[in-house]
């Protein structure tokens, strides 16, 4: 069965500030979808709401028709930056913890990934470089067998070699009939692996299109197309 994620009329405020307004989105099939938008656009909030980590939004979110947040959580593997882990923990200890908490953790797949990514299981979290830490996060996230994978900015601030390795791991180990959402504010590095893009702008979904349709219709690269949505007038860099 192919996965369907449905978000309907989602509204979310924090401290009286609108974060997301009237977000409706249907993602179906076995795709890799890029969730794009400027810093602070609400990408992470949307991911947290989908994952059931953030609460108190109005509207509905369902995965394969399941709306209950606890059920949804079990269908989603959400990349966790490991902020809650003590920094003196070893990779092997954190992996053991994941294995215990998540019954869908596939150890064989995990082992393949860490050997491909050349992770040393005896290393402590505090000793990992940013790129290595992200490789570890990706291994943990993809080792779970779920319907939906949410990767929150897996490429921010890491070197190009690590990035390539991570992209390769995604292609190799994403289960065929799962849906993957990757958020990023640089699109060029992941454009070739995206089926579709969703752009969050002005608190809502501004665009939802297939990547090859954009290339075909506009003759533009995904990055140029994405930038053209902003224009020069309201650039606030």
């Amino acid at each position: 069965m192919t996965t369907t994620l449905k978000v309907e009329q989602l509204n979310y405020r924090r401290n009286l500030k609108k974060i997301l307004t009237n977000v409706s989105l249907t993602l179906s099939g076995n795709k890799i979808v890029g969730l794009l938008g400027e810093n602070g656009a609400g990408k992470t909030t949307l991911m947290r709401l989908i994952a059931g980590v953030a609460k108190n939004a109005s509207g509905t979110i369902s995965i394969n028709d399941e709306t209950d947040p606890a059920t949804r959580k079990s269908l989603i593997s959400y990349s966790n930056p490991l902020g809650g882990m003590a920094s003196n923990k070893r990779i092997s200890e954190i992996k053991a913890f994941y294995q215990q908490v998540y019954p869908d953790f596939d150890e064989q797949k995990y082992d393949q990934m860490i050997s491909f990514l050349k992770l040393d299981e005896t290393q402590r979290l505090s000793a990992l470089s940013k790129g290595t830490r992200e490789k570890f996060v990706i291994s943990l996230t993809l080792a779970r067998q779920t319907s939906v994978y949410l990767l929150d900015e897996p490429f921010s601030g890491i070197d190009s070699m690590s990035r390539k390795k991570i992209i390769n791991s995604i292609i190799q180990w994403k289960p065929v009939d799962s849906l993957m959402i990757i958020s990023d504010h640089y699109v060029s590095e992941i454009a070739p692996i995206l089926d579709e893009i969703v752009v969050i702008k002005d608190n809502t979904v501004a665009v939802h299109k297939a990547a090859d349709v954009i290339r075909e219709e506009s003759g533009q690269s995904i990055e140029d197309y994405y930038e053209s949505l902003y224009g020069e007038a309201d650039s606030n860099d």
Binding site: K31, I32, A211, Q220, E223
Partner: protein, 129 residues
């Protein structure tokens, strides 16, 4: 593999594979790598590889055998047609550009002949060194 992000990726995958067939790197009857393997080696999405394969199957250049995989056709006529089509496409681009610059047909022929001769020299030199 570097793709031009302005051109649909499935189309570029087709071009890569068709080029390999015409250049003989993929021979008639050869088996293509598995879809995921192709996706990894080209650094593209599995779905995009599948779309490219579907089109190549529709065009008769790739034959899909259920349970066995995808193979390059062993029909030499189809490969020959593919080659003709590609040659014509590249010639058209090349000719149209020069034609737009108001270069006469004769001059185009002369320039091409001279260019090929120079290239031949270059290749010979490279072969010797």
């Amino acid at each position: 593999m570097e793709f031009d992000d302005k051109v649909p990726i499935y189309y570029q995958i087709k071009t890569v594979i068709y080029d390999q067939i015409i250049a003989g790197q993929l021979a008639p009857g050869d088996k293509l790598p598995a879809v995921r393997q192709l996706a990894v080696s080209l650094t593209v999405n599995v779905n995009t590889v599948q779309r490219a394969l579907r089109e190549m199957i529709d065009e008769g250049v790739i034959i899909s055998q259920r349970g066995k995989g995808n193979f390059v056709t062993d029909n030499a006529d189809i490969v020959e047609q593919l080659k003709e089509k590609l040659i014509n496409r590249y010639l058209k681009q090349f000719y149209d550009r020069l034609h737009r610059l108001k270069i006469s047909n004769q001059q185009i022929i002369d320039e091409v002949t001279a260019y090929i001769e120079r290239q031949g020299d270059l290749n010979d030199n490279n072969a010797e060194s």
